[in-house]
């Protein structure tokens, strides 16, 4: 009897394995055999990070001065499939999925052949580059003479210069990654409680005045950036340092440092912050700002725009600041995976077409409107993006009191050049008249002025040793230390 049941178990196990085999086999044949013309593109993106259509025509319609009217019924992914068929005469099927954190995405990717095109953050892109998991974009992709190359034509010159400067083991980041959204790291604050001057420094997180009323991100890298900026505050703010010739390079080194001295000092600062803040938060900060539980929180610029919008609907006015010490320039970008795409030219073509499609100015606007983040696309010849900014933020000088209005140039993003290198006319072309408060609010968060981009540093992927040190530092900050509690240091 026992023998029998053992046999039965073996049979069932065999059956399960066979079924598994059959499933994978049929899976293969449906991809390669029956409908050969359909290209399957597996895309993974952040949650709620793409326009899903279904806008309300009465409340959500974008009308630009150049006559473009945007009010889509269908989502970007669906539109891409239709556009691809129209443009290339072939069918593509996008299998779209989402992820919550870069680490989650990485763990999924390490299982092998799971995705073709993914959209991680800058440091994860660098990690994937060092691990040789990516394939470079084709030369064609960067050919601006091809009409459908919206990415190459539309990428902001400022963002392009940032990408070109970033390199891993001698290879520029722009070879492997195409940008999607970008922004700064800063502080959302309630101007009725906190002055703009107080919110302009990272040590607001340590301020006794607002003890237990401020939150910080529950993320090693974001917390480390803030802590490190506080540690180096005096240097970062000194005239001599700011005016030095290699200011940017030095600042970059300072804020990417993972040597023992810096990490230890930052650990002490973060431990103090832990005792002083309301909490380390992952997602509750936005709601708590609106409800008034906290009066300031560390936030990415894209989420800041969302928080400010939400609060406004509740009748609460909030502001955003990018601290004067330095701010973290972050971006998410599309990368093509070696495991997924391999040698398949059709797939690579479809992946590059997808990036171009989301980079079409109109689609970039749709995504920005939908998620509140800022696209890396400036539009090139197409002036839709600047008109979209005007549509959102420009004030009519005839209707408003002149003291409430300011001229706000965004020429750095559109031209990649500093105001000092441009003529007055060129600056005026990318300057809008807006309400004075917008220099601290959504416009400031979405399109930071030149002085903010000048102190924006990309935080690179740390090397193995640095990573271990920082992870240990994070545990030290977050855990209750019993030996220290019992016997002191």
């Amino acid at each position: 009897m026992r023998k029998n049941s053992k046999k039965l178990i073996t049979y069932i196990l065999c059956l399960v394995m066979l079924m598994g085999n059959m499933l994978t086999l049929t899976g293969c044949s449906s991809e390669g055999g029956s409908d050969e013309d359909v290209i399957v593109l597996r895309v993974s993106n952040w949650e709620e990070y793409i326009d899903e259509g279904d806008w309300d025509p009465e409340e959500e319609t974008i009308e630009l001065e150049n006559g473009t009217v945007i009010c889509p019924e269908t989502g970007i992914v669906e539109d891409f499939e239709a556009w691809f068929y129209e443009t290339y005469g072939r069918e593509v099927r996008v299998e779209y999925s989402t992820f919550g954190t870069n680490e989650e995405l990485y763990n999924q990717m390490s299982m092998g052949d799971t995705y073709d095109l993914v959209c991680p953050s800058e440091y994860m892109i660098m990690k994937l580059m060092t691990e040789d998991m990516l394939i470079p974009y084709s030369d064609e992709f960067y050919d601006t003479s091809i009409e459908t190359n919206y990415y190459a034509k539309g990428l902001s010159p400022y963002i392009r210069s940032v990408y070109d400067e970033l390199s891993i083991e001698g290879e520029p980041l722009s070879k492997y990654a195409a940008g999607y959204m970008w922004g700064t790291l800063g502080i959302v604050y309630n101007p009725e409680v906190i002055s703009a001057e107080e919110a302009a420094h990272w040590d607001l997180l340590l301020s006794k005045k607002y003890s237990k009323q401020v939150t910080i991100k529950d993320s090693v890298r974001d917390a480390y950036f803030a802590g490190n900026s506080i540690y180096n505050k005096d240097l970062l703010l000194s005239e001599e340092f700011v005016n030095s010739e290699d200011y940017y390079v030095q600042m970059e080194q300072l804020l990417n440092a993972t040597d023992k001295k810096t990490v230890d000092a930052t650990e002490d600062i973060l431990s103090d912050i832990k005792g002083n803040v309301y909490s380390f938060e992952t997602d509750s900060g936005k709601a708590d700002m609106v409800s008034g539980k906290v009066v300031a929180n560390q936030q990415w610029s894209g989420d800041a725009v969302y928080t400010l919008d939400q609060a406004e609907e509740e009748g609460v006015i909030l502001c955003y600041s990018a601290p004067e010490e330095a701010t973290n320039l972050w971006f998410d970008g599309w990368v093509m995976l070696k495991d997924g795409i391999g040698e398949d030219p059709d797939k690579q073509m479809a992946a590059e077409a997808f990036v171009n499609f989301v980079s079409m100015p109109e689609n970039a606007i749709r995504n920005m409107w939908y998620i509140g983040y800022t696209s890396v696309i400036a539009g090139g010849e197409d002036d839709s993006i600047f008109q979209y900014i005007e549509f959102l933020y420009s004030a009519d000088p005839e209707e408003e009191a002149p003291e409430d209005l300011v001229e706000y140039p965004v020429s750095h993003f559109f031209t990649g050049k500093h105001a000092s290198e441009l003529t007055d006319e060129e600056i005026a072309e990318y300057t809008l008249t807006t309400w004075e408060e917008q220099t601290r609010r959504q416009l400031f968060a979405q399109y930071p002025p030149e002085e903010v981009t000048d102190r924006s540093v990309v935080m690179a992927y740390f090397d193995k040793e640095g990573n271990e040190r920082i992870n240990q530092m994070w545990l030290n900050v977050r855990c209750f230390d019993v030996y220290e509690y019992l016997w002191g240091e």
Binding site: M1, N4, S5, L8, I9, I12, L13, V16, T101, E103, E104, Y106, N107, K212, Q213, D218, K274, V277, Y278, S279, F280, E281, T282, S284, K293, N467, N471, W474, L475, N476, R478, C479, F480, D481, V482, Y483, E484, Y485
Partner: protein
């Protein structure tokens, strides 16, 4: 013989489930726990766990939360369970329902609501992180204590209580010498059902703004830093603690159950 055979076969679906989703993952965890980064067998992770004040501290912090939660749950639930089980009510099931009803609502929703209530009372939650954690844990796990206690108390033979009274025992003596010893199995299963989950339920801490790590969050942070080895060791340590507690509680209920009856 035949029906016996059939009965065994009915267990096969569960056996396969067990094999695929319990035994196999467990083997993976043990493999990662006892190897180092190069795949070589090593006890280093295990030794590091106990050498590091932070990890041991987290273990103790989690223990403190679990022990206090369990004690408070027990003290709150026992009298209520006793009243419902032994009181002269005709609709006991409905009374019990009132206490078990919260289990029907998703616990994150309940904690969110409780958070607002506590904010009304305390003003700023950040000043009482530990206390708030305990309150939320108790709120979350109280039904799990209530059910086993109620079950064991309803099963308790009223004749024994009457006999004790007839033989001259006072109210207090009846409670401490008869009812309490006889409900030990219920207490033990209630304690195991509250103690173990409250040691690792880090979602509650996240939601109530307690930024100190407990065992669950520590495992999570190791895994998101791709350190599968240290993460696995912590899982194994937790597993050993669970095994020890289950072993002890089984032993204790068997012993006490018989001795109480003899007494």
């Amino acid at each position: 013989m035949k029906s016996n055979n059939l009965r065994k076969q009915l267990a096969i679906p569960y056996a396969i489930f067990l094999l695929l989703f319990v035994v196999f993952p467990l083997l993976v965890v043990i493999y990662y726990g006892f190897t180092n980064g190069d795949g070589q067998p090593s006890f280093e992770n295990f030794i590091n766990f106990f050498k590091n004040g932070k990890t041991v501290g987290t273990l103790i912090y989690s223990f403190a939360i679990a022990i206090i939660t369990t004690i408070v749950c027990l003290l709150l639930a026992y009298p209520v369970a006793l009243i419902i089980a032994k009181g002269a009510y005709s609709k006991k099931a409905k009374f019990l329902m009132i206490f078990v009803l919260p289990m029907w609502i998703n616990f994150t929703l309940r904690i969110t609501a409780l958070k607002e209530v506590l904010t009304l009372i305390e003003g700023n939650l950040a000043y009482h992180q530990f206390l708030n954690t305990i309150i939320c844990m108790v709120y979350d796990f109280l039904p799990f204590m209530m059910m086993p206690l109620y079950n064991s108390l309803t099963k308790l033979d009223d004749g024994l209580i009457e006999a004790a009274r007839d033989l001259g025992a006072g109210k207090r003596q009846v409670l401490f010498k008869v009812i309490l010893p006889l409900s030990v199995p219920g207490i033990v299963s209630g304690v195991t059902m509250v103690f173990l989950p409250s040691m690792t339920n880090y979602v509650v801490l996240d939601m109530i703004y307690n930024s100190t790590y407990i065992m669950g969050s520590l495992i999570g942070s190791y895994f998101s830093a791709y350190d599968w080895h240290n993460g696995s060791v912590i899982s194994i340590v937790l597993l050993l603690i669970i095994l020890a507690i289950t072993y002890l509680s089984n032993k204790y209920t068997e012993d006490d159950g018989t001795s109480a009856r003899v007494r």
